[in-house]
């Protein structure tokens, strides 16, 4: 059973998605029970997979046969190969836990809408796309999962079925059609040069010629587009503006998985390249500032948070790419640790803010949340949690955002103090933006009377807050169990992909 965990983690949500329309005929309860079982079971399996990796090392799974007969001259099986190490195992567990919590949150928040069965089919398929990104060992499978995640995200953007939603979904789809073409071209170049799709084999024979650089830039551009960072961030605010909160959070997780696979390919296949590292550092700095710069001017709350999500991704890329540039010393490893740690904190911090805004929209039925006043008087708990999210995302101690950002600042300082100053300045501006939003929505006096907060949504918000405080108070324990093995796995590429 344990040897099949990796495929089960992908196959269960895939099966769940295809059976869901059939189960829909048996009523809501059965449908939700099925969804909770599928997501819960996948999450538990991912935790067991992580424990297995910690105990025995990398897990390699060849689809279809344990000892395939068809092998390349180098001895590599010509099949679809899935691989999991401490990094992908850790990310799959964290992402699946968050995806499960988002599902619980959506139970009541989305209950008034029709087409929920289709929504959850897309929800599960996007989960499959994310997991595929994490576990893929060959380029063609990567392309398939890229397509799955793009098409399902477009479907989720169009969920509210308004003209604006369809327009945004169409924009997203047309942009990602070009993005996936770029990815396919990049993979095609590598295949025509070396005759392989397996990342491990290509890493062995790669010469880093001009054609390889073209392939790298095409693959990296398409993955940065999926991540939604500078200079490919423009689709994000438009898509987030019209999407349901659960779909936004899933899209953020999808962005994080794109960052993961980008660094995996960069380090694992193409090897350390300082120019590429510096290009990414430059992109990350621009992401931090463009996100904040555009968020200050914006008047739509979902777009503001979308811009802040872009700037937070900038911090992650800043940490990991600076680490790669400084890989020859200890600070490089620290920077990678900080970047990976911030991946978890990013989804928790920005996730909490989105969850609370989702509840405000659900309760007030308001199209423009920034017209609401005095919400904190009626819902002090929500106001408190929002403030917690504001402080965490701004990197204030003793919360989780601080724990990861301080590692990034300290280690990046040894590459260039300017990068640290820019990072700290960005955090201060994030605080300035969010404090304004807090004052607008939660302070003041409101004459309106609203309904109570859904219990499931409040429970999920509470869990997010607890996780943020716990990680902030005990960062050492969290990093030693999850982050250190993950950072080791990213740096020690010789153990990865059948090398």
């Amino acid at each position: 059973m344990t040897s099949h965990l990796i495929i089960l983690i992908i196959a269960i949500p895939l099966l769940g998605a295809f059976l869901l329309p059939l189960l829909n005929k048996f009523g809501k309860r059965i449908k939700y029970f099925w969804l909770a079982t599928v997501l819960g079971l996948t999450d538990i399996f991912s935790f067991f997979l992580y424990l297995l990796i910690i105990e025995k090392g990398e897990v390699v799974y060849t689809l279809g046969a344990k000892f395939p007969l068809l092998v390349s001259p180098q001895g590599f099986p010509i099949r679809i190969i899935l691989e999991a190490d401490a990094l992908s195992g850790f990310l799959s567990f964290i992402f699946l836990s968050i995806i499960f919590l988002i599902f619980i949150y959506s139970l009541k928040i989305l209950s008034n809408y029709s087409f929920l069965d289709k929504f959850y089919v897309l929800y599960l398929l996007l989960t499959v796309g994310i997991l595929g990104f994490l576990f893929t060992g060959d380029f063609f499978t990567l392309f398939v999962f890229y397509e799955i995640s793009s098409i399902t995200t477009a479907g989720l953007i169009a969920f509210f079925r308004s003209e604006e939603c369809f327009k945004s979904a169409f924009h997203y789809l047309s942009l990602f059609a070009v993005g996936s073409l770029f990815l396919l071209f990049g993979i095609g170049i590598l295949y025509s040069e070396y005759g392989f799709l397996n990342m491990g084999i290509i890493a062995k024979v790669l010469q880093f010629s001009f054609l390889d650089k073209v392939a790298l830039s095409l693959i990296a551009s398409s993955l940065l587009l999926k991540a939604g960072v500078f200079p490919f961030y423009f689709w994000k605010p438009e898509a987030y503006k019209v999407s349901p909160i659960s779909a936004i959070l899933l899209s953020i997780i999808s962005s994080l998985s794109a960052i993961y696979i980008l660094f995996r390919i960069f380090l694992g296949v193409f090897g350390v390249n300082l120019i590429f590292g510096w290009i990414l550092i430059l992109f990350s700095i621009f992401s931090i500032f463009m996100g904040i710069f555009l968020a200050i001017k914006e008047n739509n709350i979902k777009k503001i948070l979308a811009y802040l999500a872009i700037s937070e991704l900038g911090y992650i890329i800043l940490g990991i790419s600076s680490g790669i540039v400084m890989l020859n010393n200890d600070f490089g490893f620290k920077a990678i640790q900080g970047g990976l740690f911030h991946m978890v904190n990013d989804i928790l911090d920005i996730g909490l803010l989105f969850l609370i805004i989702g509840v405000v929209i659900y309760i007030t039925k308001s199209k423009n949340v920034l017209e609401i006043r005095g919400f904190g008087h009626k819902y002090p708990w929500l106001a408190g949690f929002f403030l917690l999210g504001v402080f965490a995302i701004s990197g204030m101690p003793p919360l989780n955002g601080f724990a990861s950002k301080i590692i990034i600042y300290e280690s990046v300082f040894h590459l260039s103090p300017v990068l640290t100053i820019i990072g700290i300045l960005g955090s201060i501006l994030i605080l300035a933006i969010l404090i304004k939003i807090f004052a607008i929505i939660f302070l003041g006096i409101s004459p309106e009377k609203y309904q109570p907060v859904p219990k499931t949504a409040m429970a999920v918000i509470f869990v997010f807050a607890i996780l943020m405080i716990s990680i902030g108070l005990f960062p050492g324990q969290f990093t030693s169990f999850f982050i250190n093995p993950a950072a080791e796995a990213l740096v020690s590429q010789q153990n990865y992909i059948c090398k």
Partner: protein
């Protein structure tokens, strides 16, 4: 001396600050009356001729960067053609930088 980040000490510090603030809050004015002049903002001088909305609190920032904001608005019109053009442009810049 190496200083190590201690979240628990920070938490105790924050709790201490909270209790100090709470002490000041408790020793404050108790005869607070709603809907009187006490709830109105106090201006030590002229009352502003118009209300400044909280949304516009950073208006000076927008004024300073007006040209840049206008340029960004011009190139991001929520249009598929613009998106694809920017994506291809970004990829070309990426390739050029990588080929250096």
């Amino acid at each position: 001396m190496q200083i190590i980040w201690q979240p628990k000490i920070a938490l105790i510090f924050f709790l201490l600050i909270f209790f100090i603030i709470y002490f000041f809050y408790l020793s404050g004015e108790k005869k607070y009356k709603k809907d009187t002049f006490q709830t109105m903002a106090y201006f030590s001088g002229k009352t502003p001729s118009q209300n400044i909305k909280l949304q516009n609190i950073y208006w000076g920032f927008f004024e300073d960067f007006k040209k840049l904001y206008m340029f960004l608005a011009k190139i991001q019109k929520e249009n598929s053609n613009d998106y694809i053009f920017l994506f291809i442009l970004g990829s070309i810049i990426f390739l050029l930088a990588l080929s250096l």
